[in-house]
């Protein structure tokens, strides 16, 4: 029995880590900007494509393979630096104060553009670069061989949760973000440059999305369509945790990861529906998600 439980728990954590990276940026952007960014999944896959391209370049030039770890991080920073300010200033800011429908339509349009852009630049074939995974080797746990990279991902997800909490609670930027989230108009009236906060918060969201894609690349393939799948899963996680709740996203990722893994182990035919069944179950009892709360709409 123990032989089955250990792999099940480890797989749940590994799966949850990947899901968390896909969802946390979405929830962060919503908490600050109150915008549901439908293009989030595309930014995730762009992060993956850029990371894979840089890793392939490193391999083709026979550079030190450990550079590929730096490449994963660099690709996320690169994508955030390019797309964050560009999208926020160019598109998203026009939706502030508009209805959710307008926001969703505009970011959905962006999603379609970014998906086609990926096809044009990276083609339609699957991308795969596993150098970081190979470098770290494997470990046998409970009779099952795991990639050390999977265990690293679990640690990275924990680091991101702690890092975001520290950023928001213990830094000046975090306090400014909190002030904007709490009362945007009041924050503006006391001299906080909300535009700057919006650009930074949106770029941080893009960074987290791209980091998720980059970190997933060594163990997953990147192909057209990944953005849409990621988006749907990220929405489910955000809905379970409560939109805008970072800890909520972490707990929701664990729930979704566990639901998926349990399905694969015990009822494989339910694999695809398990995350959404978990979402339905949570929303039936907590319509605003586990960590969400009712907010009054200001008129």
């Amino acid at each position: 029995m123990l032989n089955a439980i250990i792999p099940l728990l480890l797989d749940s954590l590994a799966s949850a880590a990947l899901i968390f990276f896909a969802a946390v940026g979405l929830t962060l952007v919503f908490s600050v900007l109150r915008v549901l960014n439908v293009a989030h999944g595309s930014l995730y896959s762009i992060g993956g494509y850029v990371a894979a391209s840089i890793c392939l370049f490193i391999a083709s030039r026979q550079l030190n393979p450990y550079l590929s770890f730096a490449a994963l991080l660099f690709s996320a920073v690169f994508v955030a630096a390019i797309f964050g300010p560009l999208i926020e200033r160019g598109l998203v800011r026009w939706t502030y104060g508009k209805s959710e429908a307008v926001q969703i339509l505009i970011t959905f349009g962006l999603f379609l553009i970014l998906e086609d852009l990926q096809r044009v630049i990276f083609g339609v074939q699957s991308f795969y670069e596993d150098a970081p995974m190979r470098l770290l080797g494997t470990t046998s746990i409970g009779g099952v061989v795991y990639l050390n990279y999977q265990i690293l991902l679990i640690g990275m997800a924990l680091l991101v949760v702690i890092g975001l909490r520290l950023l928001i609670n213990h830094t000046r930027l975090g306090r400014l973000i909190t002030a904007v989230v709490t009362d945007r108009e009041m924050a503006q009236s006391i001299g906080i440059d909300t535009n700057r906060i919006f650009i930074l918060a949106f770029s941080l969201g893009v960074f987290l999305a791209a980091l998720g894609g980059a970190l997933a690349t060594p163990t997953s393939g990147i192909a057209p369509g990944l953005g849409a799948d990621t988006m749907v899963l990220a929405f489910a996680v955000a809905a379970i945790g409560g939109l805008g709740q970072i800890e909520g996203a972490a707990v929701a990722s664990l729930i979704v990861g566990l639901a998926r893994v349990l399905a694969i182990y015990l009822a494989p035919s339910l694999d695809a529906v398990a995350p959404y069944a978990a979402m339905l179950a949570v929303l039936l009892f907590r319509p605003y998600g586990l960590f969400g709360s009712v907010t009054a709409r200001r008129i």
Binding site: V124, Q125, V145, S220
Partner: protein
Amino acid sequence: MAFKGISIVVARCLSSLELLFGLHRGLSQANLRLVADGLAGALAIGVAAATPAAAQEKPGSLGLGIFTFTSGPAAAYGMPGKNAADLIIEEINAKGGIEGVPVRATYVDEAQGAQGVIAEYRRLAADAQNQVMVAALSSANCLALAPLAEQLEVPTVGWNCDTHQLLIDGKRKYVFRPNGNTVPEFIAYAIYLLDRKPDVKTVAIINPDYAFGHDAAKIFTAALKALKPDVEIVAELYPKLGSPNYQTEISRLATARPDVVFSNLWGADLENFVRQAAPRGIFTSSQVILALGETVLQRVPLPDGVIVGVLGDGWWMSPDAKANPETAKFAERYKARFGEYPVFPSIKMANTLIYVKAAYKAAMQKNGGKWPTRAELADAMKGSKVATLTGTAQTRADNDGLVDQIIGVTVKTPAQQFPVIGDMVRYRGDSLMPQAGQDPLAWISTLKPEFAKSLPKPGSYK
């Protein structure tokens, strides 16, 4: 029946005209749709009326609608098919076309989904110049298009679709498959496995979650159970088509500790699975069967001893293929153009176009050298036997194909930088097919170990 159909269309046209004359009253949405339907009906009548007369004259060009995946994860399988079509059509046109008529292909991306594929098929079929549809790659799309092909009377050649359900009722007049289907393809794996590993006790299956994956699992399991009843299926996993990550499935397979892991994953899914499963020891702890493994030999470092095949006879390095100078030339041209040797979807597409070309030749021989109608072309396909790049494609009375099955294991060779197929067997196409009209699963359940013993053994195809 035909009269009734024409009457309905005429009635629709008349009702449309009536509605058009009443335009001053304004049209409701429903009536507007009726008008559009009616006009489409009138157009169809016009096309149908014009077609037979035009069909006797050689057209300026012969249009082919070619359906494959050119985007999405399935493009890893679909693009080699398109590449092969480009090459073969170029070659045909360089030699003056089919019976003197140059070929012009219109490609349709199957990644758009069944609704889009159906709409594209209708659009192409409405143009009389498009005489043949090479459709499709996906079994689901083949099943969706088959009734349409019959309704519009357009010869439709399934270049890849494997599902045995496509022609099971034996009533199709315009739908053909110059390939094997899931029945011979997956019985072959069961027989090869038991020849190579007769002591197998436990099997785990990981197939894509749609008809092809489920059908293959059903047929492979049924054949195993019939030939070795004590075999136990210890895990059956059906990940979503296009899934990029199989780590949890791999853990599940590892915990099941099966003697054999069977998979008919394909395209990018297969590449992803192999890349993720290899470092986690699946290929060393179990005998792995990758039914479509040949498609990734040049892209993924597969270890030795993996059972792979080509779902037919389309292995460009098989003894028969090597002996055919046309095949060697095609493989080299393909490599020069696309940077890789053709994989079996490329060969399937090439063989299908050769099949279409042969059908034109046969139809024109039959009707005294006149350009054939769609019906005459379909007639020429029925019961045909065509020499392909890798063997023979025979069409039965039920329009299903008889094609040999080649299976082997991965081996290294100094001649290539990638593993090739060794220890091969070539099963005759007809030996693994039930009779037309027979229920395939019922037929498989009647198979006995003696049947497997009567077939050629691994390593016999040299």
